[in-house]
Symmetry: D3
Subunit: 250 residues, 6 copies
């Protein structure tokens, strides 16, 4: 039995609240247990310099934690004058993950910024940011189609992410902070609705693991991804239509 | 009639949700109309170097806006590598305002950090941050007293802040963003529950104003402060007890 | 009686030395008591990006203190790699104040930079910077008109600034450093030659004040402003002509 | 057939030159094909603040590329004033990997710095840095034992790293730059001499992959790791003794 | 004949105004022609970490130009967030030069900061800073002796600095800005009152020079140094006593 | 006799290995004793903004030390977020030196970047960087001519640099680190193949020196320069042809 009475393969409670920001083209507040991440999508009608004139769009994610998202207050990166390596690593991961399910040519010469700000952290903030960021992206695409700027969805399929870990000899799905801190091995899995892997990062923290353990963790992760994608589909309702479907002009 | 049908002296709807963060010693989500600021209080059992050994506490506020708090996305300060002048000016204001109603000697050698993060901006974010930050501070003091670290409240009285502006020839209470952008004169008022002024900043934006106009704006502001303090008292309930009251050990 | 034998409503000695820099389009060394600020105006024939093509000029002020302007040496901001919040707050104030008395359309698509460098500080450096910066600006405008780049002065009226404070129970005009350090309330007033307020910042330093006290301080400040503007007019001589007067081509 | 006539499962030529720096406690110049990384180990007799007094050592790696390590010159990070996200991500990976095979308690209260500077890049710089960095670390440990500062080796087993990729429909071991740039999927594998995984990062670049493909890539990677560890053992000669062996005082 | 009617071996007019800052332990405003540098000396009763406990003092100089010291406004280093290479090179030169004539052991465990701020630049700012900085240093030493903190002067002899250049085929002493900009060779000479060289930097600007030319420039420089040291002695009056003289307790 | 058995006027062993980097347009690994500097030349077909449209090329050098080039590990400038004053001073020196022997008009509107990275330091890194950087430059020019981008060499003559010092009463050529650390006077000499001086920097380190000593040091330096230029000519072989020779199209 886990700290919060979950079984090994249980996800924490998933909540997805959409349209939580009146300015953003898409916005979602995702809660996975006590982890809460505010994700907004901003559509900008230009692309970074290296893509100019290539009839190609771009997706760029940024990630941050509010100072008191954590048990101990963490100093503000803007005050320190730079982002930490951890932050940079995470926002690169989110960006890559979301780009993998978008047809960037169909997106047209525009950038979608995905801002993921952690309001409260309890493990799994990067995976929650990917799952929530994807929903914000879909909502922004919905808006582009409603307004006639796009006629065809650039989104190829759904995507979600989850963590799995090895704590002692147990393999556990969806680690909370205490479990994460105690884990010898930490695996983050990003997967699509068709069951393809987008990113798998398995890391021994001053420890190692076998191929068998990795495969068992992968299996647990797949179960979590399915639940997350189910919740995403429920939450988006009609907007889910834009996930990998040809859109007829309504 | 104003954009949102308010009269000149009407405040927007005030909402104060407490205990919105499981880690912080005090936390409040304040909404004033569509402006939403998440305020957390963190108690740190040490003081900055210039106060060490002086039997004196400190209060330090930080302020930031999420990138998509605004109508257009604003680049992240952590990415640019420094805080803007506007941010620094605002967090200095919040810090000063909160210190003015706290007996820093009674606080003891500890620092309370007040983090004010704007989730959504629609005018008046700095004044909402002061009002919300004060509530987070009171909740943190409540905790210090409940845990026996303090026996007597260091809070001298209540405090709140509001904006007033001159738009065309009209003086308006509690400006929303459109009004603020159109205002010739902008006044921010910070006031205590006993009706004392803590800070008054009246600024002509490429414009000037008379003493009479300033006094009329001050009067409007006082009305807003009263409503804010009333809402604060309702919201804090029993914790309001710690605002300027001698606390007997319970 | 004050430290330096002044009465409550006495200004310190005001000295304004013009044309102290052979390169600048306008330059003034202002002394108010022992506070000495070197102010230069630089005319740049372009505007910041956000104003390009809008037939609109701009005024931008920067402020700094030499390391040993202060009683204790202050580390150089260029060495620390960033400006302090105090510096940013002050230069934003100076910029706003000067823009309030300039018709930016009449200025044409050019920027006037006002650099205010404190050679020696003894209280009231920001207000001296505004007063001195205004004179440097007028001298630069004089040059623009003499050279035929402008035919009509963009300056609407004169402007000056002064501090007032509450020390113990006394209200004092034009605080020197020791008084400023001891003050419970600090008021900075920026006012025009027609008696209009441009900016009023009244701040309780871990203290509060009443409306009555604010009005009394305002009155003291008005007296100081008059003396400063009188000195400014004396100092500028013929160039004062360009303060708010239609200029016939000479 | 690949660009350089290799078969799919062929490594490029591995060269390991030791003791290439007269100052460092350990140093290795590793070449894998045209990729060349200079790795030095520095022993510092103190630990970072968070470990002080915990009878625990630390290993910290830093990574950089010389400006002309790349086909196009890359601007120097010291000139830009910050490390890129890619650099930070890589040095975090190297640090974690090396710590996983070291018993940090046995290392004692000291830090080993591993500096990995890429002299010439042709794909696989991060994996070469891990392999080369490990050798530098072993040489530094050898020195600590020779000088009597350690009596027992803290190194638990050997470690090496290699890249695998999916280019078109082919899975290829040890990608050179052109292959890496063309790859849809990129897998970096860090593995120990006992065949345990330390880190596996499989990333779709705007693409996805199946579990089967991941397992096939893993198998290719294992072959590469074996060859690298064999070369490492040859290169270190007597010093290999310190990899995971109890050391009797000589 | 030169631009300003000087002969080749003429210095510009030298002016040395002492005690120009009421806070600093020593202060001098040096003018050499239109170049004006404000030099202050600050005595700090501690030394940098690398000297702690070594019964050894330190001298550290900093240099900066006000933005409008130059014909075109130069952006403020504090705004750009770093000092330029030119600034760093100059302040290292000033520091080294002043240390060469001070017995740092006799100075005791204290640091003298020499701040050199260029109010107006017209060539030769670094050499004026050395000459002026030395005077500020002597005045600070005078104070240390008057107050009994030192009984014996740590200053070994006088020091001054001057520039010489080759413009076309002419060798010229003490270049003004226009001459400096046109010079093919630029020589900066730092020399003591006993005629010893402290620093000689001769630089071809996209040009070269012969040993003969260097010696001729050196001779011109020596003449300038003598005049500067004579002016320094006149200016310091009784304080010159502390330059290299054993001081009896008065 | 010196530490390494050299006579006063002996250079250390000079080694010049060319074409050590497969990407760079020119590359040299220079060793002078145990000092080893990797120099690469990069040709970029554009010039800095201040030269655009002036039919003029540019040469820009950058310098850095690997962290463990030194006896004690030196923190990485990219981690500290800025280059030290020493680094900036050195790269300005290298840039100036190389520009003095290049006809920048003949170079055409292109920039040659010279990157000098110290792999191992044992005194004289800046002078080795100039000597090695010059060879990399010649090799890049060779390439420009071979490819027909230039028909005529822009290089006017050869250049090299060496250090000389006064240690105790001895004058020594080509100081190693221990000698450099003990030296009272340090002279760096940059000279051309026709015996002209490009730069001479003679510095007393808390010491002074006479004109006679400077001339004796200069003479020692000239001997070293000759040996360096001889080695350079041997090393470049046919490419030496491009040093100051009219090139017929081959």
């Amino acid at each position: 039995m886990r700290l919060d009475q979950r079984a090994q393969s249980d996800m924490r409670k998933i909540q997805l609240e959409t349209d939580v920001n009146k300015h953003a083209e898409g916005s979602v507040l995702i809660s996975v247990g006590d982890t809460r991440v505010l994700c907004t999508a901003t559509v900008e009608e230009k692309v970074p310099p290296f893509l100019r004139g290539k009839r190609h769009g771009w997706i760029n994610a940024e990630y941050a934690m509010l100072p008191r998202a954590t048990a101990q207050r963490t100093g503000r990166e803007a005050v320190r004058g730079k982002q930490t390596g951890r932050t940079m690593e995470i926002q690169r991961l989110i960006s890559r993950a979301l780009r993998s399910v978008v047809n960037l040519e169909k997106l047209g010469e525009r950038t979608v910024w995905i801002d993921c700000d952690v309001l409260q952290a309890d493990g799994g903030t990067r995976t929650a940011a990917i799952t929530g960021g994807f929903l914000a992206l879909v909502l922004a695409v919905d808006g582009l189609i409603q307004s006639g700027k796009l006629t065809d969805t650039p989104i190829k399929e759904g995507i979600a992410a989850v963590s799995v870990g090895k704590v002692g000899t147990e393999l556990l799905l969806d680690l909370c902070y205490e479990e994460d801190a105690a884990a010898d091995v930490d695996l983050n899995l990003v997967m699509t609705s068709s069951g393809k892997i987008v990113e798998l990062q398995a890391t021994g923290e001053e420890a190692t693991f076998s191929r068998k353990e990795m495969l068992d963790m992968l299996e647990l992760g797949e179960k979590g991804i399915e639940e997350l994608l189910h919740a995403a589909e429920q939450s988006l309702g009609a907007s889910w239509w834009y996930v990998g479907e040809e859109v007829e002009h309504k």
